[in-house]
Symmetry: C2
Subunit: 100 residues, 2 copies
DNA sequence: ACATAATATTAACAATACATAATATATGCT
DNA sequence: AGCATATATTATGTATTGTTAATATTATGT
């Protein structure tokens, strides 16, 4: 196994902890775990998570601002998708570690 | 590459997001990145992070309660170490993803 | 142009987290 | 027993975050 070297994480603690903050809320994590399977509309996500539409919109808006989600409009629907390849990798790792 | 299957993450979103919350603060992340290299005393961690002793103690106490850090007393010093192998793995993954 | 469906924004409040200061506890030394 | 050092706890003010309700915007269909 490779040597443990977290020095670069330490240098970037502010940035990385910010990213992780996005995953630190159960609904946000649930959103991301759903969206990683494919783009979803706000409506789909709202029903899936069982929360108020306003809350969902705020969560999505926040994550879009943070650059981890992207959005595209199709008629009246807006599809959200994963915008950050690193986060995609991280979610997969999380699944590997916590769900086997 | 293996199929993406995050269904189990979804089942455990509450638990997993809780763990990630611990990494979502720059100082807590810094602490963990330092401790993963080997057990450290409160004093070492305090100086390393450059924060007040009381703050450090509260961060450490919190993470110990959450079960991600362990502590053992040696004379007047208390050494903190990683208590959770899964978190250890996760930190390594984070390093892989964000620091290469 | 109007009604409707989907999404976003704003405001107000409650809950949580952080920083700081002050005090308390535990251990070792003399 | 008394003192010094290391660590923990408590209390308080402040900031951040989450929730809810109300309102606004954007696009579609008639």
């Amino acid at each position: 196994m490779k040597n443990i070297d977290v020095s670069k994480v330490i240098d970037q603690c502010d940035i990385v902890s910010g990213v992780l903050k996005s995953l630190s809320h159960p609904i946000r994590l649930k959103i991301l775990c759903y969206v990683i399977e494919g783009d979803r509309t706000v409506n789909e996500l709202t029903e899936y998570c069982g929360i108020a539409q306003s809350s969902m919109s705020q969560f999505l808006g926040r994550m879009r601002k943070e650059g981890i989600l992207s959005s595209r409009r199709v008629a009246t629907n807006i599809y959200y998708g994963m915008a950050d390849p690193k986060l995609k990798k991280l979610l997969k790792s999380i699944k590997e570690i916590y769900c086997k």
